[in-house]
């Protein structure tokens, strides 16, 4: 995926929900943002590859 197509807060949000679910407990906002950026980055690299 080209990063231009990313809608922050919507793209890959379901994956973020899955990650939160897997952690089993609430997470601090900072950790969530970090994980979300990581997901977006992986998504971008994955599609480009």
């Amino acid at each position: 995926m080209d990063a231009k197509g990313i809608i922050y807060g919507e793209t890959a949000l379901d994956q973020l929900v899955q990650w939160l679910d897997a952690t089993g407990q609430p997470q601090e906002l900072e950790a969530v943002i970090e994980q979300y950026l990581q997901l977006l980055r992986e998504l971008m690299l994955e599609v480009q590859a």
């Binding site: 990063a3 231009k4 949000l13 997470q27 906002l29 969530v32 971008m44």
Partner: protein
């Protein structure tokens, strides 16, 4: 079909017609001009079996008959077999559509494209009704045109395998240049080079709704450090506005929203009863311990989050916690602190703080407060009387910030290690141009302190618990200023105290006897600084003029001290009032003394005439003595 005639010998004609009928039967539901294909092998197998002939002979006969009827059949040599093609009309003619400039092409690759400043304009960032991510087709034309890229060429980079930006930006020719090159190539007959592969030219940046550009090729730690606030604000906004509630947040904690445990009416009633029974706000941990201890060991943190999240959406509950201590108050809980001053009045009385007249950090710096974890200050008469403290910058540096965006107040516990007592203190946070304050210290102040006493508020290891202490001294009894609530008058009362005081701030009768003449103005008047200012001038100022044409003079320290009897105030605030009041001037020879000259009243006062003769002057002090 009757118009179709077959060529060749009679046998070949019959065989060709039979083949044709077979193929038409195969494609009876095809369009008239649609191709119908069949292999020689299949036809041979069927007809050899039908006519009981040799396979090879039949194959040769079919092929010969078809060869004679090339106006009806097209013969092609396939990889494994010969393929015949015909149509229901008798001859297949491949369709030739003129599609050199289709609507699709015109739409996505216009001949004269309209200017688009930013590619994000094309990608809609508006929120759909349902939060499904709709793919938006953007033609290669727009994506490969650097003039329309949001980040432009300098931020378009290729990613190496590590995902780190490596290669320098690729310079792409402008659209016009491309068109010229295409024309030149056409003129020279050269084959135009294929467009650069978009795989090699990828954008690693995206834009937040506020315009912040985020480059995902940068290390995430760097991105977070640079754009922490923008990323947090954008994500929180999306979470809050998500109609599907996929994520839930409470303060800065985020969790999945769909599977959160719910609280029924019975749960809410039990929680409310628990709080009312305790008579004070309760921690979420206490509520779980009281009501859900045995049920929620496995998913403790998840349930704790759900409890806080659900209660925050209930109107009968109010969050009054601080970071690290989630406290809940319920409707029906007794109010903390004085009822003699309404919240709206206090918010206006402390409104000078957000207006920029806060001098609380002059004696103790912000860094010192945060490092030492304590604030020392002198108690004023107003604070002593009502048990309130203005939420100024010094206290803001010490006390915890609100957890929720719309949180109005927090409840703290102030412990007195000198007396082994504790007090619930409500912190009312400032909003807009309304100031904040602390209330609930009335009992402590009046029991152990007097106006002018120095006291210290300090943090403890528990986020919602603070200590309040003062320097003890030997017993002193003095007649100090007090407010008689029944008569609504100031007076002096014999009071014994055991604390260290600043003598200049101690409102003793022998020093500030005329303060009793101050009127206990209604709070509605006290919030008007200019009214209080003139009142103080008139009551405490020395009249340099006559009774008919008074000119009241007072020094700034006395003025400020009198101000703090009637309302919270600061030196910059009083100076600003003085500066804005055209009737107040600086006294000659002293920048610290001010003169207030009231506007002359037009009404004739015979008493004033009598008072004007001779050298007699009117002062508040004499008036005080008369009383």
């Amino acid at each position: 079909m009757s118009a179709i005639t077959f060529a060749g010998t009679a046998e070949q004609q019959a065989l060709a017609e039979e083949v044709f009928r077979l193929m038409v039967a195969q494609g009876q539901f095809f369009a008239d001009d649609a191709p119908i294909r069949q292999t020689l092998g299949n036809l041979t197998n069927f007809l050899a079996h039908l006519h009981q002939q040799e396979h090879a002979a039949m194959a040769a006969a079919i092929d010969a008959a078809i060869q004679e009827n090339q106006q009806i059949f097209i013969r092609e040599q396939g990889e494994n077999d010969v393929i015949y093609t015909t149509s229901r009309l008798g001859m297949y003619h491949p369709r030739e559509d003129v599609n050199t400039h289709t609507y699709k092409q015109r739409l996505y690759q216009p001949e004269k494209p309209l200017p688009v400043d930013d590619i994000s304009v094309v990608i809609s960032t508006s929120r759909p009704v349902l939060t499904t991510i709709e793919p938006v087709f953007i033609s290669d034309y727009w994506q490969q045109s650097p003039a329309h890229s949001p980040a432009h060429a300098q931020i378009e980079r290729t990613l190496d395998e590590d995902g780190v930006s490596g290669a320098p930006p690729i310079d792409m020719p402008a659209a016009a240049t491309l068109a010229e090159a295409a024309r030149n190539d056409a003129a020279t007959g050269a084959v135009p080079a294929p467009p650069a592969e978009s795989v090699n030219l990828v954008s690693t940046v995206f834009t937040l709704p506020d315009g912040t550009v985020i480059d995902l090729s940068q290390p995430i730690a760097d991105v977070l450090r640079t754009h922490r606030h923008a990323l947090a604000a954008a994500l929180l906004h999306k979470i809050d506005s998500d109609p599907l509630n996929r994520l839930a947040r409470f303060g800065t904690l985020i969790y999945t929203g769909n599977d959160l445990p719910t609280l029924g009416k019975n749960d809410l009633r039990r929680i409310r009863d628990d709080i009312i029974e305790a008579g004070r706000p309760l921690l979420d941990l206490t509520i779980i311990d009281d009501l859900y201890h045995s049920q929620r060991q496995a998913d403790y943190e998840g349930f704790r989050f759900a409890l806080n999240y659900r209660l925050s959406r209930e109107k009968d509950f109010e969050y009054v916690g601080v970071p690290g201590a989630n406290l809940w108050a319920a409707k029906g809980l007794p109010a903390i602190g004085t009822k003699r001053v309404k919240a709206a009045e206090m918010a206006q009385l402390t409104g000078y703080l957000p207006d920029g007249f806060d001098d609380s950090l002059e004696d103790q710096s912000l860094e010192a407060i945060q490092e030492q974890g304590e604030v020392s200050r002198f108690l004023t008469f107003f604070e002593w009387t009502y048990g309130v403290l203005p939420f100024d910058a010094a206290l803001a540096a010490l006390l915890p910030r609100p957890v929720l965006d719309d949180q109005r107040s927090a409840v703290l516990t102030f412990e007195s290690p000198q007396h082994f007592t504790s007090y619930l203190v409500e912190v009312r946070y400032p909003t807009g141009n309304r100031g904040g304050w602390l209330q609930g210290l009335e009992e402590f102040f009046q029991e152990y302190l007097v106006a002018g006493a120095l006291f210290t508020i300090a943090r403890t290891d528990v986020p919602n618990v603070f200590t309040i202490q003062y320097d003890e001294a030997g017993e002193v009894s003095e007649r100090l200023l007090t407010l008689d609530e029944k008569k609504n008058k100031f007076g002096f009362t014999e009071i014994s105290y055991f604390c260290m005081v600043d003598e200049t701030r101690l409102l003793a009768q022998n020093m500030y006897g005329k303060f009793r003449n101050l009127k206990a103005l209604p709070m509605n008047d006290r919030r008007k600084g200019d009214v209080v200012l003139r009142h103080v001038f008139e009551v405490l100022g020395e009249n340099l003029g006559t009774r008919a044409e008074p000119r009241y003079q007072i020094d700034l320290d006395t003025l400020l001290l009198a101000f703090t009897v009637l309302r919270p105030a600061s030196r910059p605030y009083v100076l600003d009032l003085i500066e804005r009041d055209t009737a107040v001037t600086v006294a000659e020879g002293s920048s610290n003394r001010f003169i207030y000259t009231p506007e002359r009243e037009e009404t004739h006062d015979p008493d004033a005439d009598e008072a004007d003769d001779g050298e007699r002057t009117y002062t508040a002090w004499k008036y005080d003595d008369d009383e």
